[in-house]
Subunit: 389 residues, 2 copies
């Protein structure tokens, strides 16, 4: 591979950010960020100097070619190779300190004897928050496939199913449409399989993970989401299955119900969620603070008297939206203390949700792209509660 076109632009944006950060090199080491900069996951590192060409130091796979590819056996080979190539030694290396394990840090930092190592995770996080036109098109494509999968849910449901059976059927529909399956989440202790379906009271089970909602899950080794609840009339059934068809994810939640939902509180809360989505679409644009979006949503929730159900009931999440891209939970964060400001090219999911005891989770989640003058919605499946069965 070579750093050209789209990939060269990413390297150049990183170099500009390095300048602002005051470091003279960036060392990329995690799979998601190797994919971001190299266009593919490799086993190795990318070294981006403040000026000049980036180098891909590869352990595996065999057989890569290109002027930017240098094979290594171990991280200790990087510095001698840079010296051979005539690259000046850095004095301050930004590295992925939020993700690189301590022992790998010790080993790698030791290779660059004399250089200061500083946590530059935030640099890459900020770069990735603003997508290129190519990346946005990848996201739109995941959104289109996401819609196609959700359009099949009413057909996939059959009477007597459990949440897990419906989930397996939705996963299978996604895989048949080309889903990569893998669900990537920013954050070290985050894990999930496929996504989440919350039916009835299970929506109120607290989870250890930092997702919007919980659910007991199938097993204590993965306590999140569907737990084997048999789907019954009167329950709200929230489907929040991931969509990764292009290396870029979209996030969408919709509520299904057998014969519909009749509980007035649940119906009201669902409508408030739809109204929040509309209200935010009217004000969100480049320059707007992400926390202002949270505050607008929260004021609507307060006005409706629904604060005790917002973003959970037994356990409430402290945010109502997050950036989406190669992973979910990217920047911006839509939360009270967020310091993020919307920029053109950002993509985020907005998920004002409510847990109504005895009924389940209601509300909607959509993924949006920030355009020059507002938001472009890229998850189009109808937002009303969908009757199945």
């Amino acid at each position: 591979m070579n750093f050209n076109g789209e990939l060269l632009e990413r390297v150049e944006r990183a170099q500009l950010a390095l300048q602002g950060f005051g470091a003279d090199a960036l060392l990329v080491s995690t799979n998601v960020n190797l994919f971001y900069f190299a266009g593919e996951v490799i086993n190795g590192y990318i070294y981006i100097p403040l000026e000049g060409s980036a180098t891909l130091f590869v352990r595996r796979p065999k057989g890569m070619s290109g002027s930017n590819v240098v094979y290594i056996r171990k991280p200790e080979d990087i510095v001698p190779k840079l010296t051979e190539m005539g690259v000046a030694m850095p004095s301050k290396v930004a590295f992925e300190g939020d993700f690189m394990p301590y022992s790998e840090y010790c080993r790698v930092a030791n290779c660059f004897a004399g250089a200061e190592f500083v946590n530059g995770s935030g640099i890459i996080r900020s770069l990735r928050a603003v997508k290129s036109p190519y990346e946005l098109e990848m996201m739109r494509e995941s959104g289109r496939r996401h819609d196609m999968v959700y359009s099949q849910i009413a057909t996939l449901y059959s009477k007597g199913m459990s949440d897990l059976e419906l989930m397996a059927a939705i996963e299978n529909a996604g895989r048949k449409l080309g889903s990569l399956g893998i669900f990537r989440i920013a954050g070290n202790s985050m894990e999930i399989f496929g996504g989440s379906i919350l039916a009835g009271q299970n929506a109120d089970a607290p989870s250890p993970y930092d997702f919007a909602l919980g659910g007991a899950g199938m097993h204590p080794s993965l306590p999140i989401g569907a737990n084997g609840t048999i789907l019954e009339p009167g329950m709200a059934i929230m489907v929040d299955m991931g969509s990764n068809f292009t290396g870029y994810m979209t996030d969408m939640s919709r509520v299904f119900a057998i014969e519909g939902v009749t509980d007035p509180l649940a119906l009201k809360a669902h409508q408030v969620s739809i109204d929040i989505q509309s209200a935010i679409c009217k004000v969100a644009k480049p320059g707007v603070e992400a926390k202002a979006l949270y505050e607008l949503a929260y004021s609507m929730v307060e006005a409706a008297g629904l604060t005790e159900y917002f973003m959970g009931h037994n356990q409430q999440a402290g945010f109502m939206g997050h950036g989406v891209g190669i992973e979910i939970n990217e920047l911006p964060v839509l939360a009270p203390r967020s310091r993020d400001i919307l920029c053109e090219g950002m993509a985020f999911a907005m998920e004002p949700k409510f847990v109504i005891p005895g009924v389940g989770a209601v509300g909607t989640e959509n993924t949006y792209i920030v355009t020059s003058d507002g938001l472009e919605k890229i998850t189009h499946f109808p937002e009303e509660i969908q009757i199945i069965g």
Copy 2:
């Protein structure tokens, strides 16, 4: 929760190991090891002192109770809580240095001002390598379900399918039988979805990951395994799908072929793999070096003149087996330089595989438990090449 029964034994084993290691506390922070010690994934830490009770410091989920549970908001709360509880401050804390990110390490180590932090990942890795009777029963159960899934493969296949279509059907069969879906792998840059199917020439595509074999995968963001190859007569179709039904995994690979495999080299190599499994079953028992198993296998491969195809062809893996439990790639490692010695209660997968150009991957993989006098096989599906279609 409380540390009693099975969980108390794990804590006590950790305390014994701490003594040998010369540290006076162990701080557990990763999901897999929180699950190992607490019996469930939580968001927080477990603090295991050299003597006395372990404490579960929990951020989420809400609502846990038990004499060992202490709620915290942030890691900075741990030390004041320990002081309140009358626990003596440690002077040397073993922590998960191979997994804890650098920035979290800085924050947590700073909380224990004055204490030395040392990488204790190896302690937990060694503890987990030797399973309790309860854990072994969880593994046997995953093995039984694994067999049930593989028994359906011939029925799931239909003419004209791609590797991806067959894979989606196998995943779905697993989920219907209660698979948790999630595939956990020890090692920071390891990722996979569901497992791997390698059909024909795709088996020879090198991958960045440290798995036994490769495969191009569907997308550069996850370059491993099935790549959309249409299944055709003459190809070896190696199915290596994960099985996680109980929080404990098993690993099994089998070869399928439409109308069978006729290539003499492929047939010979497959038989050598079966012979290696048998030969190793005769010699493996507690006290035997893991590297001796690799050496025995390699000598049989050499005698058969098959070294250039062993564990890959374009790119060859340097091991032929690995421990299995909560994750794959646990200890012991069956590789030339392994220093692991078999102990009663260990569980490992042995996967002597070959990639035959133009045909695909052949060989078998089984999961075994080390008993007091040998090996117990826990993956029972027939090892001969299975004819489908």
